[in-house]
């Protein structure tokens, strides 16, 4: 999942090379969404471990 995040970031940076703002913003949003998902998963998993 984390590798996909970095891949999306790389794709976004690559699209900047061709001045494609919309594509860059799409990949940026995808990266932020993946980052928040991974962070939520981390919080959720560890909180569950503490509760159980």
């Amino acid at each position: 999942m984390m590798a996909l995040l970095f891949l999306a970031l790389s794709a976004g940076l690559f699209s900047l090379l061709f001045k494609k703002r919309t594509i860059a913003l799409t990949f940026f949003s995808l990266s932020v969404a993946l980052g928040l998902l991974i962070l939520w998963h981390h919080f959720h998993f560890n909180s569950l471990k503490i509760i159980l």
């Binding site: 590798a3 970095f6 970031l9 940026f28 962070l39």
Partner: protein, 187 residues
């Protein structure tokens, strides 16, 4: 805002992007020289720094825009959340630490300080943006085109290296909490 002030703002953006790239290179130095395998929260912080650099590079490419600064804000918030989480995990004495230290502070503490500094710098950038006089023709990306390409390729190289090393560490799943090595082969 005069054109020269806008040029200064663009230069500040370029310097910021370079500083963020240097932070990521230091993280790589610790990873490969000390053979430290980055934890999931460390990788999230790296991604956050790349997102901040992405926003600054967009300012260089498309000209200064408040929306680009807000993208940097998102990256900084993600980095602050993950670094604060890591600081709190190790704040109780005896719970140990993760990774190396610079000037006796661990990398996740520095990460929190750097992203907080980025937030403050972004506020200054946004203030500059609010002073922008729309009637003046912006120099935008054309002024710093070579600098833009250098920074873009630097960040792209860092991002691709992170993709490969993260794939080798975690594959396409969630990363383990205590990673031990690089079990996944690239080819």
């Amino acid at each position: 805002m005069s054109i020269s002030t806008e040029k200064k703002c663009l230069l500040a953006n370029a310097l910021g992007a370079f500083a963020l790239a240097m932070i990521l290179i230091v993280a790589f130095f610790f990873q490969f020289s000390d053979k430290e395998v980055p934890c999931p929260l460390c990788l999230l912080q790296r991604a956050g720094f790349l997102l901040m650099g992405f926003a600054l590079i967009m300012n260089l490419r498309f000209g200064l825009k408040a929306s680009h600064y807000m993208l940097g804000f998102l990256g900084a918030i993600l980095t602050i959340l993950s670094s604060l989480r890591q600081i709190l995990l190790h704040i109780i004495p005896g719970t140990g630490t993760y990774g190396g230290a610079i000037f006796s502070w661990h990398l996740y503490t520095w990460s929190f300080i750097a992203s907080f500094g980025f937030l403050c710098a972004t506020c200054v950038g946004l203030w500059c943006q609010s002073q922008l006089n729309r009637s003046t023709k912006a120099p935008s990306a054309t002024t710093y085109k070579p600098l833009f390409y250098v920074l873009l390729f630097l960040l792209l190289a860092i991002s691709l290296t992170n993709t490969v090393s993260t794939y080798m560490e975690c594959g396409l799943n969630y990363c383990p909490s205590n990673p031990s090595g690089y079990p996944h082969k690239l080819l």
